[in-house]
Subunit: 344 residues, 2 copies
């Protein structure tokens, strides 16, 4: 890439260097970055490129309130280089529907231009007038969709950058217990997005232990002066499996054996519980016998609970007992008169 002397390519590089609207970049910085990439051009040329060529053809703005002008892309603009094809666009639309229930609005918002691009493509396809695609595509999430916790756009940007560029941050944090915001200096080690809430794993400056910080309770994040402190021993998977998010998990898989009703059998035949899974019809009934290797985790147990009467767990016995005890306790809750305990 030393002397890639091609105007087209230089323009492309230039366009890639201009950030989307909250961001800005000044002309001298652009010149420098271009030089880094092998484009040694006169400042005047760069000015002409920006002011006359690019800004007429692209939604590029210029902040000329201060003298080294600052350039930025329109917030909504997105351009994919091999243009999106129809199946990809449809996938993006589906993805958006799913993600809206899973990630905080601000985080999904980061991808809005992409989704808009997809929608635009689909809109433009409607040869016969009104576009109907929006009325024929739906994503149904798996579980109950809780409303994702709101978080601040600036916070997300700062935290994301801090984590990946290994910087410490100063935040105002509203802890769960107290009502007051406390200033903290954090050393980010990881981010966990657990269905509808997003957590930062970090340790507080001066302390050793790792803690979770709900991002929506973080106010005013900013890069800190303090140097970022690593934790070499940190393993995010181990951390999660240790039960930090209520998902404790045994180290090994277990063999689940159960009798399942026909609708469940059909479901699992199409979308199996695991790679190792067998389903056999039981004689003289609408029931099936399921054997599957599954992880020993909370998720699976919850799924079994949700299946309620459609699944009878035989093994592992621990789960069987848990389900039984749960059912007994739930029943007890709802039982007004303790004596009306019905069995089969």
């Amino acid at each position: 890439m030393s002397d890639a002397r091609d105007t087209l390519f230089r323009y492309l590089t230039l366009l890639q260097l201009i950030p989307r609207s909250p961001g800005r970049i000044s002309t001298p910085v652009l010149k420098e970055k271009l030089a880094e990439r092998g484009f040694h051009i006169d400042t005047r040329s760069l000015q002409r490129d920006l002011g006359q060529k690019l800004s007429t053809q692209f939604p590029i703005g210029c902040d000329d309130s201060q003298k080294p002008y600052r350039w930025y892309f329109d917030r909504a603009f997105q351009c994919h280089l091999p243009a999106l094809d129809v199946p990809s666009a449809l996938t993006l639309v589906l993805a958006e529907e799913y993600l809206k229930g899973l990630l905080p609005p601000v985080v999904v918002g980061q991808l809005t231009p992409h989704f808009n691009d997809a929608r635009q493509l689909l809109d433009g396809m409607a040869s016969n007038g009104l576009s109907k695609w929006a009325r024929c595509v739906r994503a149904i999430p798996n579980g109950k969709a809780l409303i994702p916790a709101e978080l601040d756009e600036a916070t997300w940007q700062t935290v994301a950058e801090a984590l990946l560029e290994q910087k410490a941050i100063d935040v105002m944090y509203l802890s769960r217990n107290s009502e007051t915001e406390k200033p903290l200096t954090l050393h980010p080690q990881g981010i966990v997005s657990r269905h509808s809430a997003t957590y930062l794993l970090a340790h507080v400056d001066g302390f050793e232990d790792l803690r979770q910080f709900a991002l929506h309770r973080v106010k005013h994040a900013a890069f800190s002066q303090r140097a970022w402190q690593a934790r070499d021993d940190f393993d995010i998977d181990r951390y999660i499996q240790s039960g930090a998010f209520g998902y404790r998990q045994g180290p090994d898989n277990v063999v689940l054996e159960a009798e399942i009703a026909r609708p469940v059998a059909w479901l699992l035949q199409e979308t199996p519980l695991s790679e190792q899974q067998t389903i056999d019809a039981l004689p003289d009934s609408q029931w099936y016998r399921l054997t599957a290797q599954v992880p020993d985790d909370q998720q699976t147990l919850w799924w079994l609970m949700g299946m309620s009467t459609n699944v009878k767990v035989l093994a592992p016995s621990a789960w069987r007992e848990t389900l039984k005890a749960n059912a007994a306790q739930v029943l007890a809750h709802y039982q007004d008169t303790p004596n009306t305990c019905d069995t089969h």
Copy 2:
């Protein structure tokens, strides 16, 4: 866009017209499409653009086995015009983790270049050598992740295009009951992606009733000669809510009243069940009183079941009864000796 005579812009348009690798486009077609967009150039120029300019700077291939050469983009290439920023890249990584458990691999595969682009950006950031971002970002899905049903890439492409461009398709369909593949002509009306499986809503040629077709049981989809038949009365939301996917739903919201344990209270304070929700502490206990307007659907009921002993539903009474009956039935399943019915 009539006489947008700018080389740069023409190149850009050209690049957008070249499809990703499974697709191809021939030189004369390109010339025509360029003309449509206001670029009236000589064939020779186009040939030069492709063969000398673009293909040296971009991963563009040329299939010269037949005479009108056919051009295509490298499968893996992706270029976002305002380049991805760090927060967006992180969002993409999170999105990928979620979507892998929700959409069939082939569908997610449509977006692979995007995700790769994001990963590449993050990889390139690691100033201090090895990139660690992969070890510090996780998405924990809400429910149990079943293994998404596999489906054929060509099938997805055909079905997606047929749906959106309103074409009928000929398929070989392996129905759930029979073991044999049957040829069908379908008129696609919608696509529903329900957690791990994806369904096409269509009516069979010659019939009036709408049916669901699991995409992973569709083999050999191809555009049909037959003209596509619309169904004006089709409303996908109404269709889903009518219970077609096991998610029957009452037309109105209901008011859920329940007593919830403290962890649930915390969870719901951060990621509410609905916009209208109040949580009040109950005196003399670790319990809280929840009131929320929620949809009257299966999802919510399942969620309540999963909460098991941590939630005691007070209203609506129908749910209360359902939960109670369920618990009783589950308990009955697990009860070896009917007499050991324990209550509080």
